[in-house]
């Protein structure tokens, strides 16, 4: 038998068969003809809100060099639809399901967390405290330490599921919000959501995004995310899920070396619906090339000598 490297990683209580999972909002059941979901480390459906919401006015995305800006505004059918349709749709896969939740108030987060705690198939909760579209001028809960701490503390009281706080990169000192989340009771951190950005059409002088500002994602943000992962990893021992600019297996390895235990793939799914499978294969190739038995041994192993 040929030797296969061990790609499994652990995020709090969650055992993932490999470090690759989709980034919330960039993945759904419509991708199933292109990719065997059973091969993924975890599944993260689009963020859910308590009530139905229609999302932002268009254009909701625009392409920019090395990435894209989006302002979808979390179009959502509400929690009832989610528990009746979305969770059962993914339940047939033998992969931990991480539910991403979002809200306009701390109470909404708590109600959602409570509802989902009663569902066995939900393996963990990712708190989208950082979506830059939700509030005026892109202000999100995750941009303030106190609010971050209070939000996570409140949610922690209603659930024993692993709590993953998805941090905002739109802060001066991400270590502060990371520690605030940890003190609030987070089990893991996603680093990070999208970067607040803007683009203007020079011909028409109009903003390229209907909602004026949106979140920047894609390959161009990777160096920023590597830096953020590294900074967060230096101050906390909580597992980190890297998110931002992972297009290849090599990008994932880079995030792992910076301190990530797992990595979310977002924008790459739009370019290639099977991108995550290619990335998993590329990680295995890298490990074989470097004689690494366990990917978990590589976490934070940047050589600073």
């Amino acid at each position: 038998m040929t030797w296969r490297p061990d790609l499994s990683v652990k995020i709090s209580k969650l055992m993932l068969k490999n470090p690759i999972m989709p980034a919330s909002g960039t993945f759904g059941t419509e991708m199933s003809p292109f990719i065997d979901f059973n091969r993924l480390g975890a599944i993260v459906p689009k963020s859910i809100t308590l009530n139905e919401r229609s999302g932002n006015k268009g254009p909701r995305i625009c392409e920019v060099e090395g990435g894209m800006i989006n302002s979808i505004g979390i179009q959502s059918k509400g929690i009832d639809y989610y528990t009746e349709h979305i969770i059962p749709d993914f339940a047939k896969y033998d992969v931990p399901l991480i539910a991403s939740i979002s809200g306009d108030t701390i109470d909404e987060f708590a109600i959602l967390a409570e509802r989902l705690t009663g569902i066995d198939r939900v393996a963990g909760l990712e708190l989208n405290i950082s979506c830059p579209n939700l509030r005026n001028n892109g202000i999100a809960f995750g941009m303030d330490e106190k609010t971050t701490n209070e939000l996570i503390r409140t949610v922690r009281q209603v659930t024993d599921k692993p709590l993953i706080a998805k941090l905002s990169p739109n802060v001066t000192h991400i270590q502060d919000t990371a520690l605030a989340a940890e003190k609030g009771g987070a089990d893991a951190l996603t680093v990070a959501n999208t970067f607040l950005a803007m683009a203007i059409d020079t011909e028409t002088r109009k903003p390229k995004i209907g909602n004026l500002m949106g979140g920047f994602s894609g390959p161009a943000v990777k160096p920023l995310i590597i830096r953020l992962i590294f900074q967060v990893h230096q101050v906390t021992s909580l597992p980190i899920i890297g998110s931002g600019g992972a297009m290849t297996g090599q990008d994932v390895i880079e995030m792992i070396l910076a301190g990530a235990s797992a990595v979310q793939v977002g924008t790459a799914n739009f370019m290639k619906p099977a991108a995550m499978l290619d990335i998993i294969d590329e990680i295995a190739d890298y490990m074989m090339r470097h004689h690494i038995d366990k990917i978990a041994d590589l976490i934070g192993k940047i050589d600073l000598e």
Binding site: G55, M68, P219, A274
Partner: protein
Amino acid sequence: MKNLHSEILFNRPVNDRYWKMAVDVTALEESVRPGQFFHIQCSDDWRNLLRRPFSVYKFDRRTRILEFLYLIKGSGTQALMKKRPGEMLDMIGPLGKPFSLPAGDASILLAARGVGVATLHALAQAVPAEGRRAIAIVSAQKRDDLLAVDDLRQSGAQVYAVTDEDGTSTMDQVGKLAEMLIEDYGISAVYTCGSKRLAKLMQNLATIHNLYAEIAMEAHMACGLGDCYACACPIRKEKGIEAVRICSEGPVFPLRQAVLS
């Protein structure tokens, strides 16, 4: 639907702004229907990270050759223009809901503006097999941009071309022309693409004459599959106006549902 790597058979200019490309889709088992589109990777360049949607312009069931007609607009279509025969085109499709025809064999009216004709041509090409005829109003800025007219005629459509250049394309003029065609040909359905003003006109005519009517809509897309909600646009539904995904719930919608203001 599949992620195909299809061989480019030709890729050539039609005039200074429009190109045509043909690809071999023998790898595709399912049928390709008018109104559907393919989501195409125009280049590996990071300037053109996202795929671009292009309608089925022509599809030959027998040879399984698929054609696109495209306007050179920005960096994506500029990169597409540089592709050579023999190269592979990375595309996902066929995607979206196709046009549908009401029962019967009455003629249908197509009303296209600009590159919207690319989407409606496939329908003109398909209807003769259903024993019916397509009457097309093709509107463009310049005479030079009336590119699909010959192809439409070859597909058996009766074509009425109007242009801004000739001063024949005002809504007033097109409205009168359409009224006349609806009467003369006993039109039972209208299809439109490419202009909101034209769509509004057809929406009114369809209501007055009680015609079946559909519109092919456009929106910027990311996934093209229905997962990301990047393409959602307002559509009038029973419950009121809803944001609906153009890529998977459209791009074809009943014209009365279109929100055109």
